[in-house]
């Protein structure tokens, strides 16, 4: 009996380890918190990168991220199994981002440009490395929304272009060309910045 207890205890986490996000999500739908934790750790950087690429402000991104995971918890049951759990989570995150924009527009008429100017002074104090900060700022403020999504998902979440294409529902060639174009833009910008 005792041995079996140990065995199951050892067995359980390992099983979650090996599960696909899809499977985890289906378990989450049944109220499995352990599966949720696993899913969170599998996806947090990707989801954050995605949200940040839309919101651009780390504070807002953090709030939306929290809302996103809560929504994932609440609505996991509505996920229709089709092998695209990440795309589903992106949809939730994107909608919450847009709602956030709407709310902000209601609250005060602060344009995005104002926001970006506001943050010029102290952009992301959490980041210690100055070069990291410089590059992220450039990526967030000189690239278009889709470019930001593609670049951040590829570089920070380690997603392959094909996976990005599937998750964003864009044709692969579009993703490839946007990625290349965005990286060139960044290079040019950073080199110019350096020249000054």
């Amino acid at each position: 009996m005792f041995l079996m207890g140990i065995l199951t205890a050892l067995d359980e986490p390992a099983a979650y380890d090996r599960m696909s996000d899809e499977k985890l999500l289906l378990l989450v739908a049944k109220g499995d918190q352990e599966a949720f934790l696993r899913l969170y750790h599998n996806t947090d950087k990707t989801i954050y990168g995605f949200i940040l690429s839309i919101m651009r402000s780390p504070q807002d991104a953090e709030e939306v991220m929290q809302e996103t995971y809560l929504k994932v918890w609440i609505s996991a049951g509505s996920y229709k199994s089709q092998g695209k759990p990440l795309a589903w989570m992106f949809t939730i995150a994107r909608n919450l981002c847009y709602m956030k924009f709407r709310d902000q527009k209601h609250e005060a008429d602060i344009g995005l440009s104002d926001l970006s100017e506001m943050e010029t002074g102290e952009f992301c104090p959490q980041i210690e490395d100055a070069a990291d900060k410089l590059v992220l700022r450039a990526a967030l403020y000189i690239l278009g929304e889709e470019e930001r999504q593609i670049v951040l998902l590829h570089t920070t979440a380690g997603m392959k272009h094909r996976e990005i294409a599937a998750a964003l529902q864009l044709p692969l060639p579009t993703v490839l060309s946007k990625y290349n174009r965005a990286m060139k833009k960044l290079q040019k910008h950073l080199r110019e910045e350096e020249g000054h």
Binding site: Y48, W73, G77, A131
Partner: protein, 515 residues
């Protein structure tokens, strides 16, 4: 700032810095998730249904008021001061023009902040509708709401008399197109006739958008069974963004009698072209096709127009290719005695052992098969991994780099009216395939030469390919390609085409041929 003068800012460095920056930023919100929040159980009607049920029960009074204003206008008064029709124009600025029987503007109303900017100090009262429309478009261009790329305009006409509305709608679209041309701007023009619907009134109110936009979104939601969240997301978008979403997600836009929209027929296919759906879009897409072609010709005036500078072998085969593919350059066919539609390949993309085939029209699948052979007829193990409404993915093993291959897909038909058959296309593997496989996913990071020029615009790949086939007034069923390409035998044309196809990925080239 700091000492990063030793950095050259290559892609790896940029990626590395981004990674560590985002890693430093990623918050831990796990502790803040409240697991006691009850989970929703999904068994009953979809969110959409619930949304409408709720809407139907709400706010009839407001609906009635708005209906009066929008549809019948002021009943009393002189005929000339009576509102006969209301024309809504949505870009992001949303403007409503109320006109009398003689199409003179009685009132121009700004429905959002952007519109106020556009209408600022314009006096459109008693101006003829066509002049007013022209002035509005001009003002939108000046204020930057219509720029060179990716614009979308929604025209909504409301009149009790549907025939009158249909005529007016056509007139307005013609006016807008003329004005766009005059201002050298291209746009997708969606047009619709709106009837009075209380649920739409409610939507308009809830999301603070114009009745026309609400009507458009309401139909979109109905047609595509979208959720409340998606509706909310759409309502916050500009028409341009909505148009892009529609194109990218292959949503259907209704072509019914009460209201129809001219959608980018990239998604709709020519069969959809009802008298009302006016694909005014192509201007934009055509532009995008011609761009790469021109660039291709300019870049390499010699016969081997190939952006891929990687290999002589490719260039060589390329020179021989047009001879083979000339008859139908990028076209691919299913033989079909019934005179139904052919399956046409938009573009093909090969990467990393995976072949992506994208079709121009929606297709259906029935026991799909695939075979891949090289020039000598030797076949390779291939398997269809994934079939979609307009694409499929095939994994192929054992291919060598820098070689031409052809593939044949069986069991595929155009969704509307095509018989099941097969389609053939070509692709070649990148020369540097081996290197790429070794270096893993960083493959794309390299400087791919003319890559991005080949795929211009927002939706490069798709649009570049479809552009040529979106000839506006082309009746259904005809091959639009013929119109776009007067003589198939023209050498430069062929090269440009081939180049255009290859633009989808610098090192790949693809084309199709009839079987």
């Amino acid at each position: 700032m700091t000492d990063h003068s030793d950095l050259k800012w290559n892609n790896d460095e940029i990626a590395g810095h981004l990674r560590s920056a985002v890693e430093a930023l990623t918050p831990d919100v796990l502790g803040r998730i409240d697991f006691t929040t009850p989970q929703e159980i999904y068994t009953g009607p979809s969110g959409t249904v619930r949304l409408y049920r709720r809407m139907r029960t709400a706010a009839l009074a407001a609906a009635a008021c708005l209906a009066l204003a929008v549809l019948s206008g002021g009943v009393a008064g002189y005929q000339n001061r009576r509102v006969d029709s209301v024309i809504g124009i949505d870009v992001n600025p949303s403007i409503e023009l109320s006109v009398n029987r003689r199409d003179k503007v009685l009132r121009a109303e700004a429905l959002n902040e952007d519109a106020r900017e556009v209408l600022d100090d314009m006096d459109l009262e008693q101006v003829d509708l066509d002049i007013a429309v022209n002035a509005l478009i001009g003002s939108m261009v000046r204020h930057g709401y219509l720029d060179d790329l990716d614009n979308a305009i929604l025209v909504t006409v409301a009149n009790k008399d549907t025939e009158k509305a249909a005529v007016l709608r056509q007139d307005v679209v013609i006016d807008i197109e003329a004005s766009l041309e005059e201002h050298k701007v291209q746009a997708v023009v969606y047009d619709q006739q709106a009837l009075d619907r209380s649920e739409v009134q409610e939507l308009a109110k809830e999301y603070e958008i114009s009745y026309g936009k609400a009507y458009f979104l309401w139909e979109l939601v109905e047609e595509n069974d979208l959720s409340h969240e998606e509706m909310a997301a759409f309502s916050g978008m500009t028409m341009e963004e909505i148009a892009r979403e529609i194109a990218e997600r292959s949503y259907t836009v209704r072509g019914g009698n009460e209201a129809s929209a001219a959608a980018q027929d990239e998604e709709e296919s020519s069969a959809q072209a009802s008298p009302e759906s006016r694909p005014s879009a192509p201007a934009a897409t055509q532009e995008e096709t011609s761009e790469p072609s021109a660039a291709g010709a300019g870049q390499e005036p010699d016969s081997t127009a190939q952006p891929d500078a990687s290999a002589g072998s490719t260039a060589q085969t390329d020179a021989s290719y047009p001879a083979v593919t000339l008859p139908e350059t990028t076209e691919s066919f299913v033989e079909d005695e019934t005179g139904g539609k052919h399956v046409r390949i938009d573009y093909v993309d090969f990467e990393d052992g995976y072949l992506n085939v994208v079709f121009r029209d929606k297709v259906r699948w029935k026991n799909p098969t695939v075979s891949v052979t090289d020039e000598n007829g030797q076949s390779y193990p291939a398997r269809i991994e994934d079939t979609g409404p307009d694409s499929c993915g095939i994994s192929v093993r054992g291919l060598e780099g820098g070689t031409d291959y052809s593939f044949t897909l069986g069991g595929v038909a155009v969704r509307e009216g095509g018989a099941s058959g097969s389609v053939r296309g070509y692709f070649d593997t990148p020369d540097i395939a081996d290197e790429l496989l070794e270096s893993g996913e960083t493959e794309d990071d390299g400087d791919d030469g003319g890559d991005e020029d080949g795929v211009s615009g927002e939706n490069g790949g798709t649009e570049a390919g479809t552009g040529a086939s979106t000839e506006p007034e082309e009746p259904a069923g005809t091959e639009p390609e013929d119109a776009a390409r007067p003589s198939a035998a023209q050498e430069p044309e062929t090269e440009a085409k081939t180049w255009e196809m290859s633009g989808t990925d610098a090192s790949d080239r693809a084309s199709g041929e009839s079987l």
